[in-house]
């Protein structure tokens, strides 16, 4: 029996491609009745194509989705119910998977997929620029006031270097605002999920800090309207001091794609007014199962995901192989497990670590509380993009007015989707 699985690393990423092929070969050897038909692609999901794929109903048997896609997949009627197939026997690490990750693929009491990556965000810093600016890279800033101060010092280096960067396009502006407001202790949506809650002191504090850096300190670039992928390039080119991201930006993008040096980066917790983040937007991705899958295909798909993504020491968690292949090992991500599974994963990772853990210690020790993404996350993020953009491009931006307008729009989105 054959199962098609997408998000396989293409040949343009030779090491990841090689490891995937090795894993498929080993898995098929262990399960001679299963053939994995890999669909090679990068990026794993392009939202517009993904939506079209759902409408056409031609997704692979086991398909990659972001945590924010669940409602869309369910609305399209394309997800198979896998609740009865998942238990401690078929997914041995089940009880140790972090609850927020499992919640992302659950609706009511029905399970529609298995999570594979879970993360919280922090502040990625450029250690080289910190040193050049006379700052201590082992003590990344934790408050917005410290971020502003350090960003000014880094910007003084000149040569087109800016201290801080943030997104304001491609839904990424709203996404980052969401994480930043979580760190402040605020909320994007009220607890009932019926209305926007970001027009608050916490929301204003975040936007005020960004506006201050952009137009008073001039420690952010006049070039804005940036979406995901741009700040990583600036970081790799040593033109940017700090920005917010999950650790995988370093080992998946900045180093392998943009040519950065693995030892030039470190991480602190998300900035907040108090210096102790109240939480962080958690995000991640998962695999769901096509509605048309046969029971045998669902069982085979679960077997594959357990092998590739949910077992320490195997597949994605084969740290010894990653080290041998020259991948950096030792980043505090993905934060998928708790309990005994997490202990085993940490033990294996530490054994093969090639990254200095001290560079990430303040991020790891902050133990940021993972907050789930808001209802209708992408629509909410999309609405907040123009707010971020105006704050970063208009010296006279009226923050209260912007948040008030966005509140009305988000309330309407929530009302329409209810």
């Amino acid at each position: 029996m054959t199962i098609s699985v997408d998000c396989a690393p293409p040949a343009s990423a030779p090491q990841q491609h090689k490891e995937w092929l090795e894993d498929v070969a080993l898995f098929e050897k262990q399960n001679p009745n299963i053939t994995v038909n890999s669909i090679f692609e990068n990026p794993c999901e392009v939202p517009a194509s993904f939506t079209a794929m759902l409408k056409a109903g031609n997704e692979p048997n086991v398909f990659y989705t972001y945590f924010t896609d669940r409602n869309q997949v369910l609305d399209a009627g394309q997800a198979a119910d896998i609740t009865s197939y998942v238990n401690a026997k078929t997914v041995p690490a089940l009880k140790d998977i972090v609850p927020t990750a499992l919640a992302a693929v659950t609706a009511g009491k029905t399970l529609y997929g298995l999570p594979t990556v879970n993360y919280t965000q922090g502040l990625i810093i450029n250690r080289v620029l910190f040193k050049q600016a006379g700052l201590n890279p082992d003590q990344p800033p934790t408050t917005w006031a410290e971020v502003e101060q350090d960003a000014k010092a880094i910007t003084k280096l000149g040569h087109g270097i800016f201290g801080y960067g943030d997104y304001s396009a491609g839904n990424n502006g709203g996404w980052h605002f969401s994480s930043e407001i979580d760190a402040e202790g605020g909320h994007m949506i009220n607890s009932a999920g019926t209305g926007a809650a970001f027009n608050s002191d916490e929301g204003k504090a975040v936007l005020q800090a960004l506006h201050q850096m952009r137009f008073v300190d001039h420690s952010m670039s006049p070039t804005q309207q940036l979406a995901w992928g741009t700040l990583q390039k600036q970081m790799a080119a040593n033109k940017l001091g700090m920005y917010i991201a999950a650790p995988d930006d370093i080992y998946n993008v900045i180093v392998p794609q943009d040519g950065g040096n693995i030892n030039d980066y470190g991480m602190g917790p998300l900035p907040s007014t108090s210096g102790t983040p109240a939480g962080s937007l958690s995000g991640g991705n998962d695999y769901m199962f096509a509605k048309r899958d046969t029971p045998a295909q669902i069982e085979a798909g679960i077997k594959w995901l357990v092998f590739e993504n949910l077992t320490p020491g195997v597949g994605f968690y084969n740290y010894a192989r990653q080290k041998a292949d020259g991948f950096p090992v030792g980043f505090p991500e993905p934060q998928m497990f708790t309990g005994a599974t997490e202990a085993k994963q940490q033990q294996l990772m530490t054994k093969s670590a090639t990254v200095n853990p001290a560079y990430f210690s303040t991020f790891a020790s902050a133990h940021e509380l993972a907050m789930g993404e808001p209802a209708d996350a992408q629509a909410v993020y999309k609405t907040l993009d123009p707010v971020m953009l105006e704050v970063l491009t208009n010296p006279n931006a009226n923050i209260s007015q912007l948040l008030s307008t966005a509140t009305g729009q988000v309330n309407q989105i929530l009302a329409n989707s209810g």
Partner: protein, 321 residues
């Protein structure tokens, strides 16, 4: 026997009817090949234009939840009319259309006149004018995205060297009429598209008999009077057709603002167009994506353009009479 002969030769009943039948048969034979050629085009239009149009109209009255599609009455239309960005998108689209007419319609016409008047390097210059049309739109727009970059862009570099104030170009926050952001989009769009219109104008200009200009010159007409009294009346048909095509095309502006604003809609939505809003409804709001609302907005745009085109053609015919 006589009866049988009559039965065998019914056409002999009337020579006139026989000739009419032959003509009909000949016409049918001729039409078979014509219809044969036509059927390909009809199928293409049917599958790729008419069916999607009908489907769009149907979908605009439906909703889809949990894989179940049901009738939704006018709720999709209510939703789009309630959306505050709906009116912003229409305002911006009209702004783009007017600016594109002022800049994008007039510039190619005068460039064509200039090229027509030239005595040397005609072919070279025609090629140069048409070159941007041959660039893939995305490449051309990415080039302009670099030109417009507020920090490292070419335009601001030039302004700095001339000691003039720099601009944020497409990232300008203003929403007034016209906004700097929209002017930036129109400049890029004009540069990309003017080659095609210029060549069409040039072809029309070259069809104007030279004697008309000679006669005008004898009457003492200068360059502008020749343009006004000879060139414009002689190219009126082409001008009015291109005007219609340009308005219909500019009302569907999407890729220009989409690329220049990195998939967004400008500061304070100041470059959000109607088609961009359709795209956002359908694709960008993953999780709340709504093909049905996108269809409703598509139908509204189609109706507006249909009414405009009909009205325009009617008006043109009235004027011609």
């Amino acid at each position: 026997m006589a009866d049988l002969a009559t039965l065998r030769k019914p056409a002999a009943l009337s020579p006139a009817r026989s000739r009419a039948g032959d003509r009909l048969a000949a016409r049918a034979r001729r039409n078979v090949s014509a219809h044969g050629f036509l059927i390909g085009a009809v199928l293409c239009f049917g599958f790729f234009s008419w069916y999607p149009i009908c489907r769009e109209i149907v979908m605009s009255f439906q909703k889809s939840r949990l894989g179940v599609t049901s009738w939704a009455g006018l709720s999709n239309y209510e939703r789009i009319f309630r959306d505050p960005t709906f009116w912003t998108a229409w305002k911006n689209t009209l702004e783009f259309t007017v600016l594109a007419l002022i800049i994008g319609y007039a510039v190619p016409f005068f460039v064509a006149i200039l090229l027509n008047e030239l005595r040397h390097a005609k072919g070279y210059l025609r090629c140069l004018v048409y070159l941007p049309v041959m660039l893939p739109p995305t490449s051309a727009l990415l080039l302009f995205a670099y030109f417009y970059d507020p920090s490292y862009g070419l335009f601001n570099d030039v302004l700095r060297h001339l000691h003039l104030p720099v601009s944020q170009w497409v990232q300008s926050p203003g929403t007034g009429l016209p906004s700097m952001a929209m002017i930036s989009v129109v400049i890029a769009a004009t540069w990309m598209n003017m080659g095609g219109a210029t060549l069409i104008y040039l072809a029309a200009l070259q069809n104007i008999p030279g004697e008309l200009y000679d006669a005008a010159e004898l009457d003492g007409a200068g360059l502008f009077r020749k343009i006004r009294h000879v060139t414009i009346p002689q190219t009126r048909l082409i001008l009015s057709m291109l005007l219609l095509l340009q308005i219909v095309a500019t009302m569907q502006m999407f890729v220009e603002a989409f690329i220049l604003t990195n998939g967004g809609a400008g500061v304070n939505n100041n470059t959000l167009s109607v088609v961009n809003l359709i795209y956002q409804y359908a694709f960008a709001l993953s999780g709340a994506s709504n093909y049905n609302s996108a269809s409703a907005l598509g139908v509204v745009l189609m109706l507006v353009l249909a009414v405009f085109s009909g009205g325009y053609l009617w008006l043109t015919r009235q004027t011609d009479r």
